[in-house]
Symmetry: C2
Subunit: 209 residues, 2 copies
DNA sequence: CCTACCGATCGGTAGG
DNA sequence: CCTACCGATCGGTAGG
């Protein structure tokens, strides 16, 4: 049992290493950075090739098309968030704690996995069918799950009586504001940012008398 | 005095009418809709011309370049928000009321002037110099003013002790989430949306015991 | 406002 | 992984 766990652990480590070290991994990372900076449509395969250090034509030995890169980024990110919300959903915590956890997970992903998460959030419109519909469905389902957790909190009297989809919309978009934090020169540190964001979203701006 | 007011009112009405009815006005409105839907880079002048109902070459009798359209949209929106924040800044209201007013103004603009506001918020990166730097500066100054109002509220004990720039970032991005509301089929009405958003931002998600 | 057209650049392929 | 190249499309102009 122990040996098995060790083995599968080192296997997945090797897999991660391979992905990180591989040329395809490099292409994906450079593409994320460029799609975030200039947008998917404004990034040319020649720009990308230059960043990777090869000719444009050589990119096609590692990827099938420009759109396949975007697909890889978007669905990677979608999987990360889907896996997390399922774990939180099935936990036995109070609703307010579930929301706190979800919120912090979003914040950390936006800090640590910035380029990919940002691209997935802002550039998915450029996905081709059938990926576009698939992605939109996943997105809709994710938000429904999130809203359900909030509804549950309202029912249990832990959360204020608000429109749950509106709360989800605010939370998700507020988190994407971390983009401005990344850009700003006089950054507060990541921990302070996280705690400030959580405090504002959970308890609001107004000071209680 | 009364006659003067009447006259300038009808003059500006005529001006608005002219702008709305003119071909350039039409081009700007169609461009806003398409830039929002597909992004600036992915919208071609041929697409735009078709939406307007003329040939691509004919667009250039009304506008100088594709980028000039984006400039018109972005700076129009910037002016609207700058004018408003200056009015609010110099009013003698409590800080929490100023913030409430600012927030509601953003929400209403995002509902009533959706295409332009959205494009200005998401596509300004494609502005050319010197417009790009100019726009970024205006944006930075706007956020500083907004943060100052929050700082003022913290000093007066009306607002919780939070990092003001983080609060600004949350508010501005949360409001841009109205995009999801526009997209959604089962919309709550605009008034409910506004009140829910304000309640969540000002008083938070957690129900007070 | 149109027809006709420009050079530049795009994503992608053939062949080695 | 490169050289050489494809057809398509881009923003924009000339001339009427």
């Amino acid at each position: 049992m122990y040996a098995l766990k060790q083995r599968s652990l080192s296997l997945s480590m090797a897999k991660l290493q391979r992905k990180k070290a591989s040329k395809k991994g490099l292409i994906l990372r450079k593409a994320s950075a460029m799609f975030r900076e200039k947008g998917f449509a404004a990034t040319s395969m020649r720009d990308l090739a230059e960043a990777v250090g090869i000719e444009a034509a050589s990119l096609y030995n590692h990827i099938r098309s420009k759109n396949e890169i975007l697909e890889a980024i978007c669905f990677d990110v979608a999987n990360i968030f889907n896996t997390n919300i399922e774990t939180i959903e099935s936990s036995n915590q109070k609703s307010i704690v579930k929301i706190d956890n979800l919120l912090r997970f979003h914040i950390r992903q936006m800090i640590e996995n910035y380029e990919e998460v940002y691209v997935s959030d802002r550039e998915w419109k450029h996905l081709d069918e059938p990926y576009l519909s698939n992605f939109q469905t996943q997105r809709r389902n994710y938000r429904k799950k999130f809203a359900s957790i909030i509804e549950e909190g309202i029912a249990k009297n832990e959360i204020r009586k608000i429109d749950a989809p509106t709360a989800v919309l605010i939370i998700l978009h507020a988190v994407s504001g971390i983009e401005s934090w990344h850009r700003s020169k006089a950054k507060i540190n990541a921990e302070e940012l996280e705690n400030n964001m959580v405090m504002i979203m959970i308890d609001g701006l107004r000071k209680q008398p």
